[in-house]
Amino acid sequence: MKRSGTCIAAFAALSLVLVGATAASNAAVSDREPDVIASPRPNIAYAIFKTIVARKIGALGGMVLASNNAAVPETVIRIANFTFAPPTLTVHVGSSVTWKNEDDMVHVVKEQNGAFTSDALDTGDTFSHTFSQVGTVDYFCAIHPHMTGRIVVEP
């Protein structure tokens, strides 16, 4: 005898009541301005600070500003709502990219073939990697692998 049926019986009524509030609270962090920065020195905190400043003055879509003093440019990718923002980022070779986890959940940044892997990033934690070769680097979250992102490294 074959039978197939699905019952999604999870406290449906209760959950529905809660959905609105959850969606509303999450929407508050869904803005995804591209993070653009050129830092005169390789300091993560400084880069994040500069990113905030950059947002205030208006960010430019995914491109890294040329550095005036030939220092290593840094860029921040936000991890929020189980996504990488921006999902695709173009940087110049030699750039350092910093991922910052803004979720209430742990994430792990991993190059798709394991060329680099971050520690477990809890809320507020950051991870940086310097891209020293021209090319395209695909990465994902090692524990939420549906989360994917790409770094395009240009000369």
Binding site: L16, N26, F82
Partner: protein
């Protein structure tokens, strides 16, 4: 549900959702059958029982539940208060939040207060030590294969603990891997098709919601090996809510977390921890109890919820 009619041991499912604390399941002739609220059902049946606990996330301290240890303590108290102890527990992963030794030790000591043996499988949060899950495997890997999978028999039921949280692939879901699937085929080869099977693993072994990664890429290969069996029950965690499905001979069930709820698929921008009013939190956490009853009594297939 409408799955009534000619009932046999295949696919018969009765479940009752007990908001707040747990669901008691029975396996009649190897088929899972809810027996109602934990206490009364335990008293009503004399069979072999086991209990599922999941996603305790010890170390989690975010707004969705600043005291994940406290809610696990409540779950443990529920178990300790049972008139009759289950034969054993299964923990379907995410024991810890960050795989820290102190988190493992705290969880292990607290769960140990139940005095009930526990069979663990890891969640992805238990493999975060940067060392291929050594922190987990040092504690719970003894006697297991590969990344921690194993099987055992109890009261004529064959139990299989699988690991689908290791070496995940970009863009994918949970993953069992070829080595584990080959092991499963070998493990099942000596079992008669009338043997009741219970499979447990962290991430759901069917696709609940691919957009949030709630499924296992190569689960079809594993489930195909289970098709010849008359009764298969699949117990998972990971999604912190109860979702059930009956497909042919296989019944699927996910358990609540003891730590924090997650949204119903597609109802929020992300599957992240869901913050609810404090007075509602405990109604969205829980444990699951399962009773195995031998025999071939006809079963009615009824799904119902009990709003508390």
């Amino acid at each position: 549900m409408d799955n009534i009619g000619k009932i046999d041991r295949r696919g018969a499912l009765e479940c009752m959702i007990w908001a707040g604390t747990g669901v008691l399941w029975g396996l009649s002739g190897g088929v899972p059958k809810s027996l109602g609220l934990l206490g009364e059902a335990m008293a009503a049946e004399s069979g072999f029982t086991f209990l599922q606990i999941s996603d305790s996330h010890i170390g989690f301290n975010k707004p969705a539940n600043p005291d994940a240890l406290g809610t696990l303590r409540q779950a443990v108290a529920k178990v300790k208060a049972l008139a009759r102890k289950p034969d054993f527990m299964i923990h379907t992963g995410d024991i810890t939040h960050l795989s820290k030794p102190t988190e493992f030790d705290t969880a292990g000591a607290l769960i140990g207060e139940t005095g009930v043996p526990v069979h663990y499988v890891p969640g992805e949060h238990d493999f975060l030590d940067g060392n291929q899950g050594k922190a987990y495997l040092d504690r719970y890997g003894s006697g297991t294969k590969g990344a921690g999978w194993y099987s055992f028999d109890d009261h004529g039921v064959h139990f299989i603990g699988l690991v689908n949280v290791l070496d995940l692939r970009a863009g994918g879901l949970g993953r069992l891997g070829q080595e584990q699937i080959a092991w499963l085929a070998d493990d099942l080869s000596s079992k008669s098709s009338s043997t009741p099977i219970v499979v447990f693993a962290h991430i759901p072994l069917w696709t609940v919601y691919a957009d949030w990664g709630w499924g296992t890429d190569d689960s079809a290969a594993a489930l195909s090996l289970l098709k010849r069996f008359g009764s298969v029950t699949v117990l998972n965690g990971h999604i912190h809510q109860i979702v059930q499905k009956v497909e042919g001979n296989i019944t699927f069930h996910t358990a609540r977390s003891t730590a924090f709820p997650q949204p119903v698929p597609g109802t929020a921008p992300s599957p992240g921890p869901m913050t609810v009013p404090a007075e509602q939190l405990r109604s969205m956490l829980g444990i699951t109890s399962i009773e195995v009853r031998m025999g071939d009594k006809p079963l009615a297939v009824i799904d119902s919820t009990l709003a508390s």
